[in-house]
């Protein structure tokens, strides 16, 4: 369960989040929509621990722990996963090696036994097959020379292997790339169960055709201004975001 309570954050002197409050119970998928500049990406960065954002007030409790005081790697070990909008290329770093290092770092922190190369490859190959990816994916350098769709698929592969409790999917700008959206949707839907929850951040309603959320929140002017069922997304698509900031 993720509880965001009265979260305020700024970059430099600009206050972007002005009191975000929302709760995502286990097993639920929530969507955050909102106009450009509402603070959607900032929220995902603050949750995942990127440098450069200063939290001035509020707290974020994830499974009983305040994650704002944790390093990004500890948040990952606690079960948080950020799917990047623009996955980063890592020349010289093999995908399989990267995945294994990542999985083992998380297992180590959780006090679980690390996987050896053989056990890991077995697991990774199964995940690759399930996501209908080519096997040479594991041999390539992380995201180097990948198409946009392949990068998304690679994010979903990481998510499938790391099995987070909560995934944050930052799809703020990628609403128009239907193939990428479908890949992300498949990845999320495959993990859906009563323990897994997700926060899907998007500007467009389209993604939510593929991942049906339990709750839709509207973020405007740095606050959640409305929350409602999946149908709220359709309503917004029809009426737009105009007038929401004042609410």
């Amino acid at each position: 369960m993720l509880e965001i309570k009265n979260l305020h954050a700024r970059i430099g002197d600009a206050e972007i989040l002005k009191g975000v409050t929302l709760t995502i119970p286990d097993g639920e998928i929530h969507a955050i929509m909102g106009p450009n500049g509402a603070g959607k990406s900032t929220l995902s960065y603050v949750l995942s621990g990127r440098e450069g954002y200063e939290v001035t007030k509020g707290e974020v409790i994830f499974n009983g722990e305040n994650i704002l005081e944790m390093e990004p790697e500890d948040r990952a070990a606690a079960g948080l996963f950020l799917a990047f909008q623009y996955p980063v290329e890592l020349p010289g770093v093999g995908n399989a090696n990267f995945l294994r290092t990542s999985l083992n770092a998380i297992r180590r922190k959780r006090g679980e036994e690390e996987l050896d190369a053989v056990a890991f490859l077995k697991l990774a190959r199964a995940a690759v097959r399930q996501l209908a990816m080519k096997e040479d994916f594991l041999k390539r350098n992380v995201n180097v020379g990948f198409s946009g769709g392949e990068k998304k698929r690679n994010e979903m592969l990481q998510m499938a292997i790391l099995k987070p409790h909560l995934a944050i999917l930052d799809e703020t700008d990628s609403g128009l790339d239907i193939d990428a959206l479908k890949i992300v949707a498949e990845g999320v839907n495959a993990l859906r169960d009563e323990k897994f929850s997700a926060l899907v951040i998007t500007h467009y309603q389209r993604l939510l055709d593929h991942i049906v959320p339990d709750v839709v929140h509207v973020l405007a002017g740095g606050k959640i201004v409305r929350s409602g069922p999946a149908s709220l997304a359709l309503e917004l698509e029809a009426s737009g975001y105009a007038g929401l900031e004042v609410a």
Binding site: E71, P72, E73, V88, P91, G92, V93, T101, S102, A105
Partner: protein, 366 residues
């Protein structure tokens, strides 16, 4: 002794040899302990404190006795070498022979400073093949000032992979002259980890059509180490390719230099020269000097050079951390990746494996 070059000489502008001239070097002492030798299935020559140790060396069918210097080479370091050279390997591979690999090991260890000046010769006949793997290691203060005279006849292929892992109090200056005839190739890679001050200087002459030179290096330096990789490639015939990739990782107050000069003669049309230097600076007190120089007298050539100098990409660091990898490990992975790419030009499997092992243990020591 011929005077050491000073920074007033353009070619030595970035490498200050005053710490070297401040030391008084004696003759090499007798080697004390038997060194740890690598477990590689190749014939070998082992030099202890600059002196060939017959007991530790194996036979090599193509080795000839050491020949006193005839005085080739005009670089200051080569002139000093010519005055003092007393030992070195002398390899001649007859035409058409594949001589396989040879290990050239230099181990040094002494209490008082000493110097030695190996003079090595490697000569490949037409179509011959040979790979030389060099390991330079040691402890204490000493100066190895080596010269290689390399001749690659038509269609011959010489691969030269060097590990410079000298003591951090030592000095290593190495000058290499390589003449490469048509269709011949010289592939060079130096991995620099050691020495207080080191310089590898190569002059490669491409003398016939389609002769090829690959002069690559990687430098991993920390503390107050100084490493210099200086090359001159002379395209003296048409249709010759030359390739250079030099990667440096600098920590502490380390200082690295890459000076790469490409000269293209008037007759050397269709020259294809490529030079790339990339440096990763891990601390604000490091210094990287890069000096590419192109002198082109032909009108139909392709020559390019590029250089990047920078710190680790924080986006990449965050990406790794967001996947659970601790910050220090994330940084190491990225530096390793940078170096992994630096080892790409090493096309010889056993050498590559050896270099990877060295990188691994360099890491564990950091």
């Amino acid at each position: 002794m011929v005077a050491l070059p000073t920074k007033k000489l353009e070619a030595w502008r970035y490498t200050d040899l005053r710490p070297l001239s401040a030391v008084t070097f004696g003759a090499p002492p007798a080697a004390a302990a038997t060194p740890d030798l690598p477990d590689l299935p190749f014939p070998r020559f082992v030099f202890l404190n600059g002196v060939l140790n017959a007991a530790l060396s194996s036979g090599f069918a193509y080795a000839k006795p050491f020949v006193p210097v005839e005085g080739q080479g005009t670089q200051p370091m080569a002139l000093i070498n010519a005055d003092y050279a007393q030992d070195g390997i002398n390899i001649e591979i007859p035409a058409g022979q594949d001589a396989g690999e040879l290990l050239l090991i230099s181990q040094s260890d002494g209490i008082t400073p000493f110097a030695f000046h190996p003079r090595h010769r490697v000569k490949l006949g037409q179509g011959a093949k040979f790979a030389l793997i060099e390991l330079n290691q040691g402890e204490g203060t000493y100066w190895q000032n080596a010269v290689f005279e390399v001749e690659v006849a038509e269609g011959a292929k010489f691969q030269h992979f060097r590990l410079q892992e000298e003591s951090v109090e030592a000095f290593n200056t190495t000058t290499i002259y390589a003449d490469i005839e048509g269709q011949g190739s010289y592939e060079h890679f130096t991995l620099t980890l050691g020495a207080r001050i080191s310089r590898t200087e190569i002059e490669a002459n491409l003398l016939g059509q389609n002769a090829l030179a690959h002069l690559n290096a990687a430098q991993l330096l920390g503390g107050t180490q100084h490493g210099d990789f200086t090359t001159i490639i002379r395209h003296k015939a048409p249709n010759c390719p030359s390739r250079q990739t030099v990667k440096s990782v600098l920590a502490g107050k380390a200082h690295a230099v890459f000076q790469g000069k490409i000269e293209v003669d008037q007759i050397a049309q269709k020259t294809d020269g490529y030079q790339m230097s990339q440096a990763l600076l891990l601390s604000p007190e490091t210094e990287m000097d890069i000096k590419p120089e192109l002198q082109i007298f032909a009108d139909d050539v392709k020559c390019s050079h590029g250089a990047t100098i920078g710190a680790l990409d924080e986006e990449q660091v965050f990406y790794l951390r967001s996947r659970g990898i601790p910050e220090a490990e994330a940084r190491q992975i990225l530096i390793r990746a940078f170096l992994e790419e630096a080892l790409e030009p090493v096309t010889h499997d056993a050498s590559k494996a050896l270099f990877e092992e060295v990188l691994e243990s360099w890491w564990t020591k950091q």
